[in-house]
Amino acid sequence: MYKRFYRWFPVFVLPTLAAFTVAFLIPFVMGIWLSFHRFTTIKNTHFVGWENYTRAFADEGFMGSLRFSALFTVVSLITVNLLAFVLALALTRRLRGVNLFRGIFFMPNLIGGIVLGYVFSLLVNGLLGFWGVDITYAATYGFWGLVALNTWQLTGYMMVIYIAGLQNVPSSLVEAAAIDGAGAFSTLWHVKLPLVMPSITICTFLTLTNSFKMFDQNLALTAGAPERQTQGLALDIYNTFYGRIGWQGVGQAKAVLFFLLVAAVAGIQLWLTRRREVDA
């Protein structure tokens, strides 16, 4: 068995490994390397040590974006997952047209971020027009506009994962709970929730990383207005890299910090939610 395994190993693993190396590992290592350099193009670099990192931390925009992204992620985590779970509960009952509804709720996920951002800017501006202002007027408008957009886009996807989780809850357990006299809420809290914990792990992970990394929706809806107060981390990195002569290295350093941050936060979240997973 093992002999066979080793013989076929290169055939099956090498192509993927090669693709992974070319498209991910090499750029990743180069990115870290570049973050210690001053450069205009990646062929022409000068080593500067930790300077880019100190400049990144001294940059007000970076800290502001970090706060914005963190707050945005926390709020999105709650709105997306709560709504997705409620929808999943509703759509796992025996209702007419359940599949149609599932399809409809999933659809926003198939639209590109730039298009969605543009559509939402029309919607939000149309609404705010009644008060004679637009989305650029205050940072709170932009913030909630983005939360609404993100929720609308991600909910359907998370709902599908929750539906799968709920359908895997053995009906024998639910029936047993009913016989023991558990009400709908108790069943949900003590039986269903612990059993869909794996889905919750995946959904919170996806929402967390997606919200942190959000870029195109941010660019199309607010582009940071007013005064970069609604600028997420990804957009800040992009603007640092391309908008300022002599800041490319700093942008790269920010990107490395961004990676470490997302990895750390997601790691903690995975550890926390995994601990609560149980077997049926």
């Binding site: 090498l14 990646i42 022409n44 027009g129 202002v133 989305i135 650029t136 002569i245 002599g246």
Partner: protein, 450 residues
């Protein structure tokens, strides 16, 4: 047995295909034919460039590959392309600040034919004895107005100003009087406002944070007799004419089609469409905007009625001020390309601006006002705005305002100033704070260039 064999063959073939696909992207063969790779800045004339590249190849056998960067992404695209094996041999820098970023890639163009024929050699970008950027087009901007509408206004029996013709307007005070009275009479004139929307959406605010800001800074630097070769002179600015910037900006905002609280979602195309559809009488923009006016469906403005007025801000001696004319388009040749490729690039641009066919393409297809002595008086583009710019340039008593905004420290500075201006328009930021932030922003960005 047979089945297993078949499966193995299939698997092996699949792997080969995958490996092949992977290696194929890495080793595209370089062509031996001499080529010019040009990274074009102006997406609106990308097709015209490709057409003339084909003509050049037919005539000389040299291949010209034109690649075009999308709007507002030139620096990004250039940074990416420069790092590849197929780096552009001909590209453009946007002025002294752009040169600072691309210093290592700009060849000396002192001995090129094109530079020798530059009408005003002071316009080129220089570094010591080296010539590193050659301007290839001259553009102008000012306040564009629709003469049909201003004439209609001037003919009103109850107008409050004693101006008979727009040619008499040569100061901010007069402009303000006319504009404000026109705004009062907007119903009679059939317009929604005098000025088109002040487009303040992020990425659409360059008319204010770059072009308009050029005017007060021109006065500041002229009065201060600033030496433009001394980069230290630009580490800080005083914004001494900030109040005058506010004058004109307020005039735009208060007499506009759009309420000033709503300008944050307006784009330049919105503004140009308003102008083309005669919803407004004036708009600040440059001669490149002709295509944006012409191509609006249902457009009502007649080409003969397009006129330019300088941007008057209330500065001393402004009755002699002309349009802001200059360029931020300078050819640069990649110094890291081979000698042959550099020469091919220089030959291509020389052909474009000196041969009969090339010149015809420049004036008729690209629509450039070319700053070279190879062009005679009558070889100018045929669009009405370019003609207006030429008319203003020809006025003897008028001093043209140069494009000093090529000295602005970075895109970031401009974006931040634009964001400040938007908040001021919405009434959530005081003018004092706008000025303060702008000066600090300048200092911060200028210090990063080093």
């Amino acid at each position: 047995m047979k089945l297993r064999f078949l499966r193995r063959v299939m698997a092996a073939m699949l792997c080969l295909v995958l490996l092949g696909a992977l290696t194929a992207c890495g080793c595209a063969r370089k062509t031996d034919v001499l080529t010019v790779r040009y990274l074009n800045f102006k997406p609106e004339i990308a097709e015209q460039y490709e057409a003339l590249a084909a003509i050049y190849q037919r005539q000389t056998g040299v291949k010209v590959i034109v690649e075009t960067a999308a709007n507002n992404t030139y620096e990004q695209t250039l940074a990416t392309k420069m790092a590849t094996d197929e780096a552009p041999t001909l590209f453009q820098i946007n002025g002294p600040r752009g040169y600072a970023a691309w210093k290592d890639y700009c060849a000396d163009l002192k001995d090129t034919e094109l530079y020798k024929h530059l009408t005003d050699q002071s316009l080129a970008i220089k570094d010591g004895d080296k010539v590193v950027g050659i301007p290839y087009v001259v553009e102008g901007y000012g306040i564009l107005y629709n003469k049909a509408l201003t004439d209609k206004y001037l003919a009103l029996p109850d107008k409050a100003v004693d101006v008979e013709s727009m040619d008499e307007v040569d100061s901010y005070d007069e402009l303000k009087a006319v504009v404000e009275d026109m705004q009062k009479n907007k119903a009679a004139l059939g317009i929604d406002g005098v000025f088109a929307s002040t487009s303040m959406k992020a990425g659409e605010d360059w008319r204010w944070q770059t072009h308009l800001l050029n005017i007060p800074l021109y006065y500041e630097w002229t009065e201060g007799k600033v030496d433009f070769n001394d980069s230290k002179a630009f580490s800080e600015i005083g914004f001494t004419h900030g109040d005058k910037y506010r004058n004109i900006y307020d005039l735009y905002l208060n007499n506009s089609v759009t309420d000033k609280k709503l300008v944050g979602s307006k784009t330049v195309s919105d503004s140009m469409a308003e102008f083309a559809l005669e919803k407004c009488a004036m708009v600040q923009n440059g001669n490149w905007a002709w295509s944006q006016i012409k191509d609006v469906s249902g457009n009502k403005v007649k080409a003969d009625n397009l006129r330019y007025l300088p941007i008057y801000i209330g500065a001393e001696g402004e009755e002699k001020q002309g349009l802001a004319i200059g360029t931020e388009n300078f050819y640069a040749i990649n110094s890291q390309a081979s000698k042959e490729e550099q020469k091919a690039a220089a030959d291509f641009i020389w052909w474009l601006y000196s041969s009969e066919e090339g010149k015809k393409q420049v004036t008729e297809k690209l629509g450039f006002i070319a700053p070279f002595d190879t062009f005679s008086e009558d070889e100018t583009p045929d669009d009405p705005l370019a003609r207006e710019v030429a008319r203003w340039m020809a006025k003897e008593e008028i001093t043209t305002v140069p494009w000093h905004f090529t000295m602005f420290p970075s895109a970031r500075f401009k974006e931040d100033f634009g964001a400040s201006l938007l908040k001021y328009a919405q009434g959530t930021k005081s003018w004092e704070d706008v000025v303060k932030d702008m000066k600090n922003g300048w200092k911060r960005e200028a210090s990063a260039i080093g």
